[in-house]
Amino acid sequence: MAELLRGLRLEQVVITLGGARLIALDCAIAPGEVLTVMGPSGVGKSTLLAAITGTLDPAFAMSGRIRLDGRDLTGLPTEARRVGILFQDEYLFPHLSVGANLAFGLKAEVKGRAERRARVLAALAEVGLEGFARRDPATLSGGQRARVALQRMLLSEPRALLLDEAFSRLDTGLRAQVRELVFATARRRALPVLQVTHDQSDAAAAGGAVVVLG
């Protein structure tokens, strides 16, 4: 039974705007699996992700249930949902150092300066960014920024991962590399992944089910 509930489930989720139906989706993403949602821009892909993170604009209305590992997310504030998200822009906080960006993501339950610092350094080392803790995020390359954003998100220990055109800014070579890192990490950590993209290669690389909207 518990196995059945694990992962990210969208149960008869319908999103409407002023009475008009935008999105209707009913699906389950098991831990470590990827669901790709495709469709042209303006079809409401990002709206779907906003519904899952709990940042839906009040103009939209949603019915149905979103469950993560059996927990109903409806009505929970974004910060309590434990849903990680990556956008095409990394949104590293420009006023914080790379290390402080990671520490922002690291859960408050991890106590003690030394312990927190060690966790941040380990997260940087994991993606080959040793010695980057004091760097200004604005001085990083695109690939480095993507890795910092990924690690920052992972330090917050999410139970699911959303990708909002996360790779579309990267050029082809880097794109495959970063994509591989993200999907491999999600598999290793048994995170259900929902990605929206308009790029066929993202869907192919994910290897999971594909839903086409619009």
Binding site: P58, Y91, F93, H95, S97, F104, G105
Partner: protein, 579 residues
């Protein structure tokens, strides 16, 4: 709502959650309450009702007395003429500067000059201009005796000329930077680059193309600031005392004179004058609106004509606008320089360009007396700015958390305190504060300043606040940060520069307030501005120089801080520069 049911939110945020939804309403009440209450408090005595002075009935006697004043037609004409001339010249100059130079490197230099120019208080700028153009001023000295043959200052009425020309000039030097700033903010929304390129590709000259393709979109966005400039120019008091004519003065100045008349029965006449001033401003706005319609109609004909603009004419317009704009800036800067020199001047005879000797005596003599007004000025400005920032941020954050979108109509409300003439409601505000027993105190003055500080703080902060990418907040929330942490650890630090600029603007507005301090403080709250304007009649340039410089420094220091502090704090953060 979401906050209130959240079990993870710490107790402080729950307390704030109760205050936050009320913040926009409270802000409106603090800003508009005094205006509306003050207006009614002015209207009552104008109609003869003021029990404290024995007025109980509803009569038009006050208006009869007002209309019997022989100076009235001239005072009314002056107010209208000065208002329209100052506004039209300022707007025309700003439009031509933008049409000719927006997007160029020269324009970048103009932008950098804006904040310092804006921060100079009106009174200080007016004193500066007076130092320049007076018969014994720098311009006359530079030309004498060589060109003019004057060995002593000529007996010419250049300053405070009866037609109000020097008053208009003084207003233009301060309105041009203000309108330019508002235009720059509007331009970022209109995205003029593409339209201009298209127009130029179709063979239009730069200025003509800008006027035809961009100005019509732009004007809609700067209409309210233009109205504020018109209303201000028609009813300004401090600048008009320094630069405006005396016999008769503008209506607003005369109303203030009646208000401070030892004969208390003149209060009724003053109230009637204040009501007339309000009517005059409304009439002015109506006339301006008619002119807008007429200009728009002519403009459409001009646009449809397909005229591309002649190269030589375009060039002349560009250079002319730049020179006039430069002259306006120079008038403020040279005026300040003149005050610096006067404040250190020993013997300085006409027509010497510089004093015989520089001395610290003026500062030694008047410096110690500055301490009181300086403290008062800083306390009031600090309190008003702090309150304004708190209310503004709370309102914006409430809008953000509860999904409230300000209607465009709400913008009118922000401009209301800037459009309703100060004399029209401050007099009533004073009467009411006497009745409620809070008159003459610093707190009442802070509240009165808040009425004017709030709109400016709100206007300068709301645009950067909305421009902040909300997805930065989504990321932070998804990382587990609650709304409070997002606000304090992400949004406010990222908006540090606009926050400091907004604070500096608010501070400068408060420092420059003359009438609210004078009236609501019942003449007992002495700030640098009230002291400086009070010195105007005396004409001792050395003392005026000392006070005007102290006033300018008080207004300018926060702007300097707003530039220096983020640079120092973010010196290792490339992403925080220029933002």
């Amino acid at each position: 709502m979401r906050l209130a049911v959240s079990t993870t939110a710490p107790p402080p945020s729950r307390r704030r959650a109760r205050f936050l939804p009320w913040a926009p309403l409270l802000t409106l009440a603090v800003m508009l309450g005094p205006v509306l209450a003050g207006l009614s408090g002015t209207l009552a005595p104008a109609l003869g009702y003021m029990p404290a002075l024995g007025g109980h009935g509803v009569t038009l006697a006050a208006f009869d007395a007002l209309f019997a004043w022989p100076g009235l037609p001239r005072a009314v004409a002056l107010s209208l003429g000065v208002g329209f001339a100052a506004t039209a010249i300022s707007l025309g100059l700003v439009v031509l500067i933008c049409a000719g130079w927006a997007g160029t490197r020269t324009f970048g230099a103009i932008e950098r000059l804006l904040s310092p120019l804006l921060s100079v208080p009106h009174a200080a700028a007016a004193f500066g201009l007076a130092f320049l153009i007076a018969p014994s001023g720098w311009i006359a000295r530079a030309l004498s005796p060589g060109l003019t043959g004057w060995a002593r200052p000529p007996d010419l009425l250049i300053l405070q000329d009866p037609a109000g020309v020097s008053l208009i000039l003084g207003l233009v030097t301060k309105e041009v930077p203000f309108l330019l700033l508002m235009t720059l903010a509007a331009l970022t929304q209109v995205r003029p680059g593409q339209s201009l390129r298209v127009a130029q590709a179709l063979g239009y000259g730069r200025v003509t193309g800008w006027l035809k393709a961009i100005f019509p979109q732009l004007y809609r966005q700067i209409r309210l600031p233009v109205y504020a400039v018109l209303a201000f120019s028609m009813s300004v008091v401090d600048v008009a005392i320094i630069l405006g004519p005396n016999t008769p003065p503008t209506l607003a100045v005369q109303v203030v004179r009646w208000m401070s008349d030892p004969d208390l029965s003149m209060r009724f006449q003053a109230a009637a004058g204040a009501v007339l001033q309000l009517g005059l401003v409304l009439l002015g706005l109506g006339l301006w609106r008619l002119m807008e319609v007429a200009v728009a109609r002519l403009g459409r004909v001009w646009i449809a004509s397909g005229a591309r603009g002649r190269r030589r004419g375009e060039q002349a317009l560009r250079m002319g606008a730049l020179m006039l704009g430069g002259l306006a800036a120079l008038a403020v800067i040279a005026g300040l320089a003149g005050q610096v020199v006067w404040s250190f001047a020993g013997l300085w005879q006409f027509p010497d360009l510089l004093p015989d000797a520089l001395t610290l005596r003026n500062w030694q003599r008047h410096g110690p007396r500055l301490a009181g007004p300086v403290t008062e000025t800083l306390l009031i400005a600090g309190a008003a700015t702090g309150l304004a920032l708190l209310l503004t941020l709370a309102s914006l954050e409430a809008g953000h958390r509860h999904g409230l979108r300000p209607a465009t109509r709400a913008l009118w409300l922000l401009y209301l305190p800037l459009i309703v003439p100060q004399v029209a409601f401050l007099m009533g505000f004073q009467t009411l504060s006497i009745a409620t027993g809070v008159d003459g105190g610093r707190a009442a003055v802070v509240l009165a300043h808040l009425v004017f500080v709030l709109p400016y703080v709100f206007l300068s902060l709301s645009e950067p606040w909305r421009a902040w990418d909300a997805r930065q907040g989504v990321i932070a929330r998804a990382l587990g940060a609650g709304p409070d942490r997002v606000l304090w650890a992400v949004r406010l630090p990222m908006l540090l520069r606009p926050l400091l600029v907004a604070a500096a603007v608010g501070f400068a507005v408060s420092v420059g307030q003359y009438l609210p301090t004078l009236l609501v403080g019942a003449g007992r709250v002495a700030t640098l501005t009230t002291e400086a304007v009070a010195l105007a009649a005396g004409g001792d340039r050395r003392v005026i120089g000392v006070y005007a410089l102290a006033q300018t420094a008080a207004a300018f220091a926060p702007f300097a801080l707003a530039v220096v502090l983020p640079r120092a704090l973010w010196r290792n953060r490339k992403g925080m520069r220029g933002g």
